[in-house]
Symmetry: C2
Subunit: 325 residues, 2 copies
Amino acid sequence: MNVGRASSSRCGLQIPGETAVNRPVVLAFGGNALLPDPEKPGSQEEQAEAFAVALKLILPKDGGLVLVHGNGPQVGMILLRIEATRDRIPPETLDILVSETQGSIGYLLCRTLRNEITDREIAAVLTQVLVDADDPAFSNPTKPVGPYYSSEKAEAFRDLAGWSLVEVPGRGWRRVVPSPRPLEILEISTIAHAARHGHLVIAGGGGGIPVTEKDRLQGVEAVIDKDLTASLLAVRLDAGKLIILTDVPGAYAGYGTPKQEPISSMDVATAQRLLKAGEFPPGTMGPKVEACVQYCSATGRSALITSLEALPSALKRGSGTWINP
Amino acid sequence: MNVGRASSSRCGLQIPGETAVNRPVVLAFGGNALLPDPEKPGSQEEQAEAFAVALKLILPKDGGLVLVHGNGPQVGMILLRIEATRDRIPPETLDILVSETQGSIGYLLCRTLRNEITDREIAAVLTQVLVDADDPAFSNPTKPVGPYYSSEKAEAFRDLAGWSLVEVPGRGWRRVVPSPRPLEILEISTIAHAARHGHLVIAGGGGGIPVTEKDRLQGVEAVIDKDLTASLLAVRLDAGKLIILTDVPGAYAGYGTPKQEPISSMDVATAQRLLKAGEFPPGTMGPKVEACVQYCSATGRSALITSLEALPSALKRGSGTWINP
């Protein structure tokens, strides 16, 4: 299904001297998709080859590629260790946990991709992302993190640590944290320099380390949506393309109904209408479509939602969901 | 005491167009010195101000500053959590632990220094460091990591995990790991680009993530000396200065004897002679002097060993130990 009009060719150059050829591409992908088993970091090596093949398809000839990875399973594993030792070792805050996973996932990606892609510099830049201390998300935490708890334990954490928790029927209680909107990428200049030199840059991992700025920069207990951070990075870098990889080949109209149909492309206005109508689930496809809408609106260029497997076909517009300005 | 001749003015430019004014400075400092209590990351905020004042003294006018931090206490804390959950959650290897601390310490430094130094871009680049798989250190592990164990536990780890352990009288057994020599900085190009733009770059943290390359890059269970990595970085970046901060104001002749005397400066040949004579303890001052010797020999420029407190005076040659080519 093709909803709405075709892509416009509006152009919004921000970096002097940059041409369409060397504009970077921004690619976001989930912590689940490429690092399926955080307990076996070795298993990632096997996936790196398939991933590298996909990256070679989208690496701009003279431009950089910025990779934004998720970190859900990895943060979950650190939280398990923290919970088990909470009585002896003071727990770390979520901003620090995100920074640790930027370290470990960034390293695994750098190392395994260097084994497959030898003609490009590859490096990971730790990334802090500014959020608004008054973001409404702070009074309405929705993002689940870490393990499931019994109702007794949940109550104890609520009383002692001030956590918000939600009950997931049949599984127990789970901590939820705020998911504020990303406003600025603090390390954007370093990322841009590297991308402009054609490097493969890993940045904004786990959505970025969330910080607020009231007088001073401070870390906050929150998790930023990585797709929205990827979109912000793509806008600030004036990227030529934003690609969001997920575990389905694209977005669907009427998802989960008998009339379910893949959307091959849609314009921003249509995407916004469908978002408002609740066509895309809030925790999964919703933020991805929203991220694409923001990028398309700001740059006048197209974004793609697809899976690793469908990427080659999607780049030829034979699969995936293209969102056009 | 001034041992040996004064600094020569030999010059070894490697980066075209670079001048003495904009050559970067490389500064190494211990995980103990600036992050004294890893259990209270907040305590670091208070130290950041004093540290930032010192950094402003050495920031080249138009050049970058590369910071190489230690990570001993931080790795120790992660190892405590790993040991406590070893029966439930598979332990991570040391290369991954180093990458996690590059994430967390890099973030804390980036954030707190941004509050103090507002006219420079500040960013941390994850850093892998190549070591030789045949480095003799792999058959002679000497670097202690993690907690102390009873002799029973030590034996179990020796049998089950193949660890090497040493007994520290009165405290118990401790794991020792290889400390191979750093050969190459894999992300040198990204670090160099950022430094060349005058950025403050955090790199090579914890001595770098140790990897070997036999067919493919692989992580190894080892810890690289951060001062030797800082020296290698300074050589590869053709830095204008290498400064190593420690908890004493400088190196001493006859350290711990009644004739103990601070060394205000010495040339490379003298430093090498004193190193060979065992004048500097192997685990502490030895690698620092060795790191300076390597930098001075390769670049023909001077290196400084001093403490954070003595740095202002040392820069005016009123304190600290200068090692000159």
